[in-house]
């Protein structure tokens, strides 16, 4: 007897009790199954309708199969068989597909551009995908709103917000699963889009089009706020200026960070990397990659590529540790 036969076989037990816990993945901050926006709700409804419809059809077909395979059958005429094929195999599926197509087309916001285009001016957010982060520009010419931020989007609840989507290098895709569907960001093109959030909360939005080595580390946070706090936040952002003569600001300038980053009010006016004016207040740093702590900021500055391969920010191994700590504390303090 070969020795292996003696070994008790490892039984691949599926711990069934784990399965219900998988349902936890259906709620949360990045789920199309717990919608917090108009568009996401209609996508969710479409999903429910198609899933239930498919389940009913599956049951019917299976029942028919069981019926056809029963032991005591009787023979149908060729004509009856052909009728069954004509109605059950051609006319019925065609009509169902027609209804589904009509329903899905009717749901598409892109077919009703008045949602986004009834006025050409007014408030809008210009979002640009960059390898591997997000640039957001809040613009409202009439009300004098014009400020930039990065990697964290703030939206008011219950208001339709218009977006202009662009890309600076390769194709990215803008997708906030909890709020709505996807729209690609294509270099050399502006795509228009709109969203209406219905529930305040904090959501996560991943880049939904492969864009390079750190594509999986390119996400942004969406903070949906009540209208009043949102107005106040915009007000504050519009007038936000950081003091220019602090130790942190000096370090920031001295190590060349200002060539790529803006901190409004200081001499840092670079446009290559993310705006850092309110970096300390964001949920995460490096486009959803690390928790926002002073230690992580220091770690990222020291060796960005170790956190995000292929990143467009150079490493700073030469900054003395004490200065790095001070720099990170300064940035974390920009709230």
């Amino acid at each position: 007897m070969p020795p292996t036969e003696n070994r008790p076989r490892a039984k691949p037990h599926l711990p069934l009790f784990i399965l219900p816990f998988c349902l936890a993945g259906c709620s949360g901050s990045q789920s199309a199954l717990s919608p917090a926006g108009e568009e996401a709700s209609s996508i969710y409804l479409l999903l429910i309708v198609t899933t239930c419809g498919a389940a009913v059809i599956w049951c019917l077909v299976t029942a028919l199969l069981v019926y056809a395979g029963r032991s005591r059958r009787h023979v149908y005429s060729a004509g009856a068989g052909q009728k069954l094929i004509l109605w059950g195999g051609a006319i019925l599926p065609t009509s169902i597909l027609c209804l589904l197509l009509g329903y899905a087309l009717w749901l598409m916001p892109a077919t009703r551009p008045w949602l986004t285009n009834n006025e050409t001016s007014g408030f809008r957010i210009e979002a640009t995908g960059e390898q591997y982060w997000w640039r957001f520009a809040y613009r409202d010419a009439e009300n004098g709103i014009s400020f930039d931020t990065a990697n964290e989007l703030r939206l008011p609840v219950g208001e339709r917000i218009r977006f202009a989507l662009r890309a600076s290098d390769v194709i990215h895709s803008f997708w906030i699963p909890s709020l709505g569907g996807k729209m690609d960001m294509i270099p050399g093109r502006t795509n228009f889009f709109s969203l209406e959030a219905t529930r305040p909360g904090i959501y996560r939005a991943p880049c939904a089009e492969f864009c390079g080595t750190s594509h999986a580390l390119m996400a942004f946070t969406v903070v949906v706020m009540e209208k009043e706090p949102f107005r106040e936040w915009m007000e504050r952002q519009t007038n936000l200026l950081r003091p220019r003569e602090t130790e942190g600001a000096r370090l920031f300038a001295r190590h060349g960070c200002a060539a790529c980053h803006t901190i409004r009010g200081t001499q840092a006016r670079g446009r290559i990397g993310p705006d850092l004016t309110d970096i300390g207040a964001r949920q995460t740093i490096a486009a959803g990659t690390l928790a926002n702590t002073a230690e992580n900021i220091a770690r990222f500055i020291r060796a960005p590529h170790a956190v995000k391969p292929g990143v467009k920010m150079p490493a700073f191994p030469m900054i003395p540790q004490a200065e790095l700590t001070a720099l990170a504390a300064y940035l974390k303090g920009l709230q």
Partner: protein, 125 residues
């Protein structure tokens, strides 16, 4: 002279419906794309929709005519498929039946192509 070709046995009808489908598809997509790229002043979006609706009606009518010719070639359904004998009659019936099915497919395809016209209210901004 009748408007329908006297010749019953013809390969031409086999192509008619898919070709109509192809031209209808091009008319809808190229027409809408050109309109949205140029936005000509004299033509508004609803007029284009109506125009393409008319093109759709014509395409469907052409497909119905081709289906009727196929039905005639198939002997108005007097004989059942599969028409697989090596005879001239079966060849004619087989071809007629295949043409009829293709016409059905093209008819549905034209409807599916045109369906967005019911919903699209304008060009993308």
């Amino acid at each position: 002279m009748s408007i329908f070709p006297r010749e019953i046995e013809s390969l031409w009808t086999l192509f008619t419906a898919p070709v109509v489908w192809a031209f209808h598809f091009l008319a809808c997509y190229v027409g809408m794309a050109l309109y949205c790229a140029r936005r000509p002043a004299g033509l508004d979006h609803d007029m284009l929709r109506l125009g393409l609706g008319a093109v759709t009606a014509i395409a469907l009518a052409a497909i119905v005519v081709s289906a009727w010719l196929a039905w005639r070639q198939w002997g108005f359904g007097t004989d059942d498929p599969p028409h697989d004998d090596a005879t001239r009659k079966d060849r004619r019936l087989f071809q007629g039946f295949a043409t009829l099915l293709l016409s059905g497919l093209s008819f549905i395809a034209v409807i599916f192509t045109a369906l967005p016209l019911l919903f699209i209210e304008g060009c993308f901004p």
